[in-house]
């Protein structure tokens, strides 16, 4: 088959020593930026952009793609070790990953995260090669009404994310939606909740909120607790996932890969959302959903697979139509243009060696990341043994610097600090941050999609039901809500039966 021939050619190109070198640099830098909060792949890519001008286009693209991949791997490392997500897509990994670390199982968590990412990443790349063009066309059928319904469906899964009180989770979700409204109205561009602050016209900003809510607050609360007791098991039980771990994780990884890949194809879906959906799916399908949040390996394997699968999925519209998925791929596209490559439907025809060389290098990149990260697990785990005084001071330092580097702006740092304090209070009073983050991510998308749909349909709400894809998603949302009510009812009945 022609695709496979081209793939082999691409692998060959990617294996040239020069390209291997750039791939390695890319994944290394990517991992570092993923580990450090705030400094994300976008920052790294824009810093390295001038360097890439002096380098052959294919090698440059390989390096930039490596950065994007590496960042995802790196982000999960800090989520598991210190409950601080390096990237928004690693927020969900904090939930069970950190719990596992506290039980002394940081090694298997890190290992499974790496393996799940690898399996999902390489598996979906195969799928990409075989089915990219027709999938891209499918993605085009998503217009504003479909996005609205999909996002609403995404919001309903918040009921599955809640570890404790659903009411509190819904409160946080509503607060997140309100926060999402800060900024300019999408249609009339009137400022809302900006209080005259210029920087707030673009909203509070997701990275700042994530670093504050998870990073700073984690430090504050641990510092408070550690005066009373030791938080971590000092004995680390094993460095690699056990056979049981593999048995528990293989199905979640497969499910998450499918889920993440197909969600990634829809242009504009951030990789954050598939992680939330995968977690909720695994919790729903599990035989012991109550254990989620206490250190279930499926809660790490699923989301990690999902975000890598989604990253591959976003390559579908990128490579077949030239439509980038988000900020980092947009920069990469821009860079391609400077090199004289024309990213778009013609890229395959005009520069097949670039296209297939990139795909080939992504396989190599995945392998490199696995090889890079597995031996590092031993070292990472030792990080937990650094005395809190030093460790957490460093973390706060990185959070402060990281939030500033998002946009060279002090306002972002202030926002992070405010949310850090807020996050600390939330943890004290047992309010979860994940529904807030979900709402903050989905809120603007829902509002934009709703507004545009209303303009297109001239004010008719029927548009969401008349279009098949949209109707399906709204139906799913309804089902999810109903099923959660039903299971609560059943739970209530069980409790009643038990008491009799």
């Amino acid at each position: 088959m022609e695709s496979l021939q081209n793939l082999v050619m691409g692998l060959g190109t990617a294996l040239h020593p020069v390209n291997l070198f750039y791939c390695f640099i890319g994944v290394l830098i990517g991992t570092l930026t993923g580990v450090l909060p705030g400094i994300g792949p976008v920052g790294a890519i824009s810093l390295l952009l001038p360097v890439t001008f002096h380098v052959p286009p294919l090698s440059a693209f390989i390096m930039l793609a490596g950065i994007m991949y590496g960042a995802q791997y790196g982000g999960s490392t800090t989520s598991i070790l210190v409950n601080i997500p390096g990237e928004a897509s690693s927020v969900i990994t904090c939930m069970d990953g950190y719990a596992m670390a506290r039980k002394g199982r940081a090694g298997p968590a890190l290992g499974m995260a790496a393996f799940a990412s690898f399996i999902a990443g390489t598996g979906t790349l195969f799928a990409l090669v075989l089915v990219a063009p027709p999938l891209a066309e499918f993605g085009l059928r998503f217009g504003p009404p479909e996005y609205f319904s999909l996002m609403v469906c995404g919001l309903t899964i918040v009921v599955y994310l809640a570890r404790g009180s659903i009411a509190k989770a819904l409160m946080m979700m509503s607060f997140g939606l309100i926060l999402a409204a800060v900024g300019l109205d999408p249609i009339s561009s009137h400022p809302r909740f900006t209080y005259g602050v210029l920087a707030l016209r673009d909203g509070v900003g997701l990275p700042q909120v994530v670093i504050g809510l998870f990073g700073v607050s984690e430090v504050l609360i641990t510092v408070e607790r550690s005066f009373s007791r030791v938080v971590f098991e000092t004995k680390i039980k094993g460095l690699l996932p056990t056979l049981q771990d593999w048995k528990d994780s293989i199905l979640p990884v497969l499910r998450a890969s499918f889920l993440g890949f197909f969600m990634g194809i829809i242009p504009g879906i951030s990789v954050v959302i598939p992680t939330f959906v995968s977690y909720s799916l695994e919790k729903k399908l599990s035989r012991f959903p109550e254990k989620f949040g206490t250190g279930v390996i499926a809660g790490v394997a699923g989301p990690e697979a999902a975000n890598n699968a989604a990253a591959s999925g976003t390559l579908v519209p990128l490579l077949s139509l030239g439509i980038p998925a988000g900020a980092s791929s947009a920069i990469v596209l821009g860079a391609l243009m400077i090199y004289g490559l024309n990213p778009g439907p013609l890229l395959i025809k005009e520069s097949p060696q670039v296209f297939w060389g990139v795909i080939g290098s992504m396989y190599i990149g995945n392998v490199m990341l696995l090889l890079l990260n597995l031996p590092l697990i031993g070292i990472w785990v030792k990080v937990l043994k650094i005395p809190y005084g030093i460790l957490f001071s460093l973390i706060i330092l990185f959070c402060l610097i990281g939030s500033y580097t998002i946009n060279n702006s002090l306002t972002d740092m202030y926002i992070m600090i405010i949310f850090g304090v807020m996050g600390y209070l939330m943890k004290k009073f047992d309010y979860e941050a994940t529904p807030l983050i979900l709402a903050l991510v989905l809120g603007p998308m829902i509002e934009n999609a709703l507004a545009r749909s209303m303009i297109i349909s001239r004010g008719s709400f029927l548009v969401f039901f008349q279009r098949p894809i949209s109707a399906i998603f709204l139906g799913m949302a309804l089902l999810i809500l109903l099923s959660s009510f039903l299971s609560k009812k059943k739970l209530g009945e069980d409790i009643l039966n038990m008491e009799e």
Binding site: L49, I323, N407
Partner: protein, 322 residues
């Protein structure tokens, strides 16, 4: 005799230092690293434009010239920063003209104290539709819109963008009614157009050109004076008797108000030579820009004032003006 020599040496040293001090005050510009603040995101159109210049600029000016991103509020955060910096020529604003022509038109309080150094290049704004659409020419669009007012939708990246003003000018000139759909991300906008969810997209050339080359998107008209070299079959709005629809993406370099004449002159000369460099010119061309260097701070100030007035009129008519 010895005392005399000592005195002569002392006086010579003092005078020598004195001359040095005078020399310091009039040290040649530039003598420090210079930063060009781009108020939009890394990898964006204007960002890539200035990044493709920095190598050559650094070589010519013999100091490091770097691009620094300060995004936010559609370019106003960066504009604010530069307007409040020292006007010694070491902090400049490299941007598309929107923050200085459109923002003040919508809200006069958003005007900033900036002096234009030069206009460097422009990129055409173009109205497009998907290839499968029934609208093959601009005339088809106008005819349909006249028959069914308000039936067609046209997207732009928002009411604070140049294409929106171009759209409003077009609607007024052709006396038609198109529903405007703001889609802040141009890639989402083009995707919606490809999928047929909106009928037309009014945006800059860069967004659509690769899809146009692949025949997925059809261009109906361009806002430039002359037809595009890359797509010579697309007519201009002027040819179609709508010459007032000439709003394009213009790249400009500005500084804080009151730049010293030496700084302005230096940049005028440097830009002339850098933009004439064939490698730089090739990169800019690949980014879909056409080089058109215009200098003369007074002339440009008048030009920008005119643009602000033109857009203010439209903003008042459409109720945008706050």
């Amino acid at each position: 005799m010895k005392m005399k020599i000592v005195w002569i040496i002392l006086i010579a040293t003092v005078v020598g230092i004195g001359f040095n001090a005078v020399g310091y005050a009039q040290e040649k510009y530039p003598s420090k690293p210079t930063q060009i603040v781009v108020p939009f995101g890394a990898g964006g159109s204007s960002d890539l434009f200035f990044r493709s210049l920095t190598d050559e600029l650094s070589k010519t000016m013999k100091v490091p010239v770097t691009v620094v991103n300060r995004t936010g509020a559609s370019g106003l955060v960066g504009a604010d920063f530069v307007a409040n910096s020292k006007n010694d020529g070491y902090t400049l604003l490299g941007t598309s003209s929107a923050p200085v022509t459109i923002a003040p038109a919508i809200d006069p309080k958003d005007a900033r104290e900036l002096d234009p150094l030069a206009l460097l290049a422009y990129q055409a704004n173009i109205i497009v539709t998907r290839s499968e659409s029934e609208f093959k020419t601009l005339d088809d669009l106008v005819a349909y819109a006249k028959k069914k007012p308000g039936a067609l939708t046209c997207g732009t990246s928002g009411i604070e963008s140049e294409p929106y003003f171009a759209l409003e000018l077009f609607k007024a000139a052709a006396k038609i009614d198109l529903r405007h759909v703001p889609i802040s991300s141009s890639r989402e906008g083009i995707t919606s157009t490809l999928g047929g969810h909106i009928d037309f997209w009014f945006g800059s050339l860069a967004t659509s050109q690769s899809l146009m080359k692949a025949d997925r998107i059809r261009g109906l008209a361009v806002c430039t004076e002359r037809r595009l070299e890359s797509f010579p079959s697309i007519p201009t709005f002027a040819e179609k008797h709508y010459p007032q629809v000439n709003v394009n993406l213009i790249i400009t370099l500005l500084g804080p108000r009151g730049l010293p004449p030496a700084v302005i002159k230096t940049w005028e000369d440097v830009l002339k030579s850098v933009l004439a460099n064939p490698e730089v010119a090739a990169s800019i061309k690949r980014l879909n820009y056409d080089i058109d260097l215009q200098v003369g701070t007074e002339k440009l100030r008048t030009y920008f004032k005119g643009e602000v007035e033109r857009f203010s009129k439209i903003a008042k008519q459409t109720g945008l003006r706050k």
